[in-house]
């Protein structure tokens, strides 16, 4: 059976599934329940400086986007960092870590961008026996207005500076959590690396308004008729997170920097995908908040079964396996030609492929009086929209043409050689073939 043991920057956990710093990890009671359910580690909800804790709103903190049957696809929140006393948190962290020595215990921290503030809190955290810290440079709401969270994560120089302080005043691994509310994720990741970070974790939540109440005209979640942008997470953000993870995994200045993947991970498959894009482990929040802690059991069994099936003995066996295949558009093979193919035995004649292609694409699907839908190879550009809108799995597939065949759309022979935009005759900047 596959070994799910995880060793992330020296932090060991029985599996790669950690709970992200968020409401589920705000106190001892929840974290004990999480460990009992099987979670490999937790990142304790962000601690702030000593003194009166922050306050939260006393109305809705969450807003949601639903799919069919109220399946939760996206969640946003306007909750701040822990609103409990610093020392209460520290005592609880110490107790839980002592009782669960085999689980990863990471402490998320967010204090003002002043060396003294970090210098003050880090020894207290060190004393808990936790395995590492995560710097919350990602929270997009509330705290960012006070110069913390995403406000730091959006300034690479601050990231580097604070990371350096942390490495100076704390002996264990330092993970820098990045905000996605930025143009180029590689810049803050490189800054973290320059500051000496052991790893980055991403993504934090995305600025969002989940909906507007059309009666009160208030954004949701609504507090007394007003709303503030919240942090978006859940299944809907996974594609954004995976792209950002892959940029860091293959970036010139960031390559090799350990990554803890976060963003909409809901099933074992999501986790496996993040790991193939270079993540050493993954962090989960929304799935737990939607279904409870037990979801980790499906993640563990699913990942283990898949690894067995593929012959992967450990997480490292497939970590980053997809990274070499992430490239720039300009390097995609323009000599690759595919055509859509409809399996008539599987087709249920709904006609969605036809409507999509006829109305919004290339008029490459025909419809007969008997509702038989067929691809017109002369017109098909293999855009994949028909595959995407077909309600039947594997009914429409993209079939690659063999070299030597003639593409009926262009009349050109399919070439066996790889050729991309950089050498394409239509590209004004094309380099002459050498």
């Amino acid at each position: 059976m596959a070994n799910l043991q995880s060793n992330f920057v020296g932090i060991k956990s029985p599996n790669p599934f950690w709970l992200a710093s968020a409401p589920p990890t705000d106190k001892e009671y929840n974290v004990r329940r999480a460990f009992e359910a099987g979670w490999g580690g937790v990142v304790w909800k962000t601690l702030g400086s000593e003194g009166p804790p922050v306050v939260n709103v006393n109305g809705p903190r969450y807003g949601a986007i639903y799919g069919a049957d109220r399946r939760l696809l996206g969640l946003n929140n306007i909750e701040l960092i822990t609103d409990r006393d610093l020392y209460t948190n520290l005592e609880e962290i110490k107790r839980v870590k002592a009782d669960y020595p085999d689980r990863a215990m990471i402490v998320s921290i967010m204090v003002p961008c002043e060396e003294e503030a970090w210098k003050a809190i880090l020894p207290l955290v060190e004393d808990t026996g936790a395995d590492g810290i995560e710097l919350n440079f990602g929270c997009p709401h509330g705290m960012s207005e006070r110069g913390m969270g995403a406000a730091v994560g959006q300034v690479p120089e601050y990231i580097e500076m604070v990371t350096r302080w942390c490495k100076q005043y704390y002996s264990k691994p330092v993970i820098v959590k990045l905000t996605p509310n930025i143009t180029d994720i590689r810049k803050p990741a490189a800054a973290a690396k320059a500051g000496g970070a052991d790893a980055v974790s991403l993504i934090n939540t995305i600025n969002s308004i989940t909906s507007v109440d059309l009666d009160s005209m208030s954004p949701e979640p609504s507090i007394d008729g007003k709303g503030s942008h919240g942090g978006y997470c859940g299944p809907a953000v996974k594609p954004i997170a995976m792209s950002m993870v892959s940029e860091i995994a293959r970036g010139e200045d960031t390559r090799g920097l350990p990554i803890s993947g976060i963003g909409g991970i809901t099933t074992w498959r999501d986790a496996a995908e993040f790991i193939t894009l270079g993540c050493g482990n993954v962090q989960v929040c929304t799935a737990a908040m939607t279904y409870g802690f037990k979801v980790v059991q499906e993640m563990i069994s699913g990942l283990s079964d898949w690894m067995d099936e593929k012959g992967h003995a450990s997480i490292d066996d497939f970590r980053g396996a997809a990274v070499p295949n992430v490239t720039d558009w300009q390097y995609l093979n323009l000599n690759y030609v595919a055509k859509a193919k409809i399996n008539q035995d599987l087709c249920i004649s709904c006609g969605r492929c036809f409507a999509a292609c006829e109305d919004t694409s290339h008029q490459a699907i025909s419809m007969s009086d008997e509702r038989v839908f067929e691809v017109i190879d002369d017109e098909c550009v293999a855009c994949n929209l028909c595959v995407n809108v077909c309600p039947v799995e594997n009914c429409i597939t993209m079939e690659a043409m063999e070299p030597g065949q003639t593409d009926p759309r262009t009349g050109k022979t399919v070439e066996p050689e790889y050729a991309n935009w950089t050498t394409h005759p239509n590209n004004p900047a094309a380099r002459a073939a050498e």
Binding site: A68, D69, I348, S349, C350, G351, R352, F354
Partner: protein, 440 residues
């Protein structure tokens, strides 16, 4: 409860009040708002959807389901009612399993179609329960049309004509409007007075005058209508019933299934309705099933549905046959009645087994029967009508008859399949043709 299901003969009060209430409650309870959303989410919004083609009234089903899914059930209702003004009743009585839901691609994909009928009911009920009538009349045309019959065909025709600005007068032979919706459909399909509520709601369009207890030929002559109105639509259905021409066919305890159903529908106290201990219904259509199932629900101990051909030839849909079986009705096929036995009142009915080609086998069977319900077809009654074809008024696709100025539709005319929804479509289409004809 003075009697039990075991009491011999024909008797009332075989069950207690709770059992009657339970037995005659809604066959398909209405979807609540969440159930409707879940059901609506299953619709694929097919291109040129097969369900629309399968609907005799061409309701844009994917559109109305999407309107439900996006939280606008009243818009959905308007989409439905624009095509079918009796969408509420059709949602209840349509054999959707042989129409829209049979054509649904999810039926092909999974054997589980989108619940089109129940979604239609959700939308139309949502609108009708608010008492909202979403249509208004066009400017008055000064034309008047007589409609004979206040059933689905007549009311559909009348509503469309009124909406187009014509003045409509409807004549109906019965004390209440609604036709078979009110008198001829199983109670559990349209409980709690829905048929009358729907008629009241439909008439809110205005411009329709209703004369009840006024039968064509008896109380009003066709010539009077053709001279007094600019056009006439005949939608009086089939008033006659085929006789049971066998020995003993006139014994006490033998009655027409349509009368049995009508009495049941008009009864204010189901416990006062007599029903046999051993009931035999002769026939294989929807009326036969409705009569058989309701006999059982009224407390009959043994109910047999006797049909002369195989189940595959029955006019009642497979769903209806299964419903009957699930309620405890025994379906006996390939039997033709030969004689009714009994001293005064019927006690037994004797059948001969027949082959698929209806040739007799010589094998006989006797089934205990203290009540025999005939559901062997209805006939058109009346004289001086337009030309007939196979016993019904011959009509073109738009309902024109052999006589100028007279249109016909519904069960009394050729071309339909005796469904409520078809009658509604024919009434509507005839109205459009009448309108075109009158406005030249």
């Amino acid at each position: 409860m003075t009697q039990s299901p075991f009491s011999p003969g024909v008797a009332a009060g075989r069950l207690d009040d709770a059992a009657y209430a339970e037995n005659f409650s809604d066959l398909h309870p209405a979807l609540d708002a969440h159930e409707a959303l879940v059901a609506a989410d299953r619709c694929y919004f097919c291109h040129d959807a097969p369900c629309i083609t399968a609907c005799p009234t061409d309701i844009d089903i994917p559109l109305f389901i999407r309107q439900i899914a996006t939280g606008t059930p009243d818009a959905a209702a308007k989409t439905i009612l624009t095509q079918n003004i009796m969408g509420g009743m059709c949602a209840r009585v349509c054999p959707t399993e042989t129409l829209c839901e049979e054509a649904c691609v999810r039926e092909l994909a999974e054997g589980k179609p989108v619940l089109i009928g129940q979604l239609q009911r959700y939308a139309t009920d949502h609108l009708q329960e608010q008492g909202v009538h979403p249509f208004t009349r066009a400017a008055a045309t000064g034309k008047s049309v007589a409609v004979v019959g206040a059933g689905p065909a007549g009311l559909s025709c009348a509503h469309r004509l009124a909406m187009l600005g014509h003045d409509v007068t409807v004549y109906d032979a019965r004390p209440k409007p609604g036709g078979l919706n009110e008198y001829g459909i199983a109670a559990y399909k349209t409980p709690e007075g829905f048929a009358q509520e729907e008629v009241d709601w439909l008439l809110k369009i205005g411009g329709i005058t209703l004369h009840h207890d006024t039968a064509l030929g008896r109380d009003v002559a066709l010539e009077k209508l053709t001279t007094g109105f600019d056009a006439v639509f005949l939608g009086m259905g089939l008033g006659g019933v085929n006789a049971l021409t066998v020995d003993g066919g006139d014994k006490e305890g033998v009655l027409d299934a349509v009368d049995f159903i009508a009495d049941l529908r008009q009864s204010g106290d189901l416990g006062a309705l007599p029903v046999g201990r051993d009931v035999v219904v002769i026939g294989g259509g929807m009326t036969a099933v409705d009569a058989a199932v309701q006999s059982k629900l009224l407390g009959a101990l043994n109910v047999t549905l006797a049909y002369r051909r195989g189940r595959d030839r029955m006019n009642a849909s497979v769903f209806e046959q299964d419903l009957a079986a699930s309620k405890g009705v025994r379906i006996t096929t390939h039997v033709v009645p030969k004689a009714l036995h009994g001293n005064g009142a019927v006690r037994e009915i004797e059948f001969e087994y027949v082959n698929d080609d209806m040739t007799g086998t010589g094998e006989m069977v006797r089934i205990p029967a203290d009540q025999v319900l005939r559901a062997i077809g209805q006939t058109l009654e009346g004289e001086s009508l337009p030309a007939l074809e196979r016993g019904k008024i011959a009509v073109t696709e738009t309902g024109r008859t052999s006589m100028d100025g007279i249109w016909a539709g519904g069960d009394c005319a050729t071309g339909g399949d005796d469904l409520t929804v078809t009658a509604v479509a024919e009434g509507r289409d005839a109205a459009m043709d009448i309108h075109a004809s009158l406005m030249g």
